[in-house]
Symmetry: C2
Amino acid sequence: MHEIIKKTVTKNESIRRKLTDIRQDNLQQILDAAENIFADRGFRGTTVAAIADNVGLPKANVLYYFKTKEGLYKGVINRLLTIWMDNMNEMSADIHPRESLRNYIVNKIHQSREYPNASRIFADDILHGVNYLRGPLEGELKDQFDRTCDVFRCWIDKQWIDDVNPEHLIFMLWSTTQAYADHSLQMSILMNKPQLDDSDFEQGVKVATQVILKGCGLSD
Amino acid sequence: MHEIIKKTVTKNESIRRKLTDIRQDNLQQILDAAENIFADRGFRGTTVAAIADNVGLPKANVLYYFKTKEGLYKGVINRLLTIWMDNMNEMSADIHPRESLRNYIVNKIHQSREYPNASRIFADDILHGVNYLRGPLEGELKDQFDRTCDVFRCWIDKQWIDDVNPEHLIFMLWSTTQAYADHSLQMSILMNKPQLDDSDFEQGVKVATQVILKGCGLSD
DNA sequence: GTCTATAAGCTGATAGAC
DNA sequence: GTCTATCAGCTTATAGAC
């Protein structure tokens, strides 16, 4: 009898485990497809049907998992924010900006190349009325922003860099580096290329570090 | 008899003139409304009905003037491109970059403030699949881009500025200055303000000129 | 959990009276 | 030239059989 009970329990758990796996797998696949399509066509330009087709699932199934299109969009944004924050190598007041600032730029442009969806979806959210980023921007992103400003002020106090307004220096760093995701199409057209390649990203890193480091008073 | 004929002609012309005025006036109003709404919600997020409501005209009337939503969008883009190109103070190889480059930055940020719609609609067009800018980008905009690159190369040859890759320097100038239109919402949220004010645009100009001029090897 | 069928509403565009 | 009425198609979302 013990055996039977045990077996039954094991079997039930095994089934539950399997269903959980399917669920996790579907959630993952839906989020992946949604991320790509939202990045490509924006929130309003994306249809649930397009996402479902991309995963190979019926539309109703997608809506079973996420209930609404907005919910799915929020799911995508939240997942991207996690990666975004985790990958973010924050700058430190103790490490000299010559390395710290250079590292930050290299990292941000690398991120624009490897995860362009994040930058593009965020850009679309800010550009238009959707604005689901308002919450995070007022919370965790603002905290990070404030901390980075403090680091810059520290560097200025120590006279490691020139007296440059920290807030606007960050805006400059962000727009310059994120352009390699958001404006990559424009760049490639103007440079007569089908798309940006290794050398373009290299040049981008080179110009951004060269100009911003020297512009902040850091000699080569 | 001469008098009668003359009078009739005059009256017809007067009527035609008046109708032409109404036509021009309506076209203008529709384009104005469309520009604002396209800038706010993107191409796909904009409805013809919203534009018509904004002008106070029936939807069918708007479509009488522009036939299709795409046509209206193209009309808006073309009008913005004209302003964009006209307002563009191109840089000159003869004028020293200390003035020329500073002027360019001041002008671009001013434009981001005064005509944010242009920057936002262009950003949306590049960010998503719409891409009606591809034509101009391959034509007149590319010509201007190439000319500016040549000016930079000239400055480098004369050793007026450091050896900075001209293409990517322009990308940096554009993204930094246009951020004051495209990312103004993000900026204001992070700085705890309802919207950007005079001092923010001043600081933006200051930081951009300070960092980019010095970063290109131009001493204060 | 999955999927077909369908509701309910909106969108671009047109026909046709004035 | 203007506007009402309306169409055909698509969109989000749900009901209900399996």
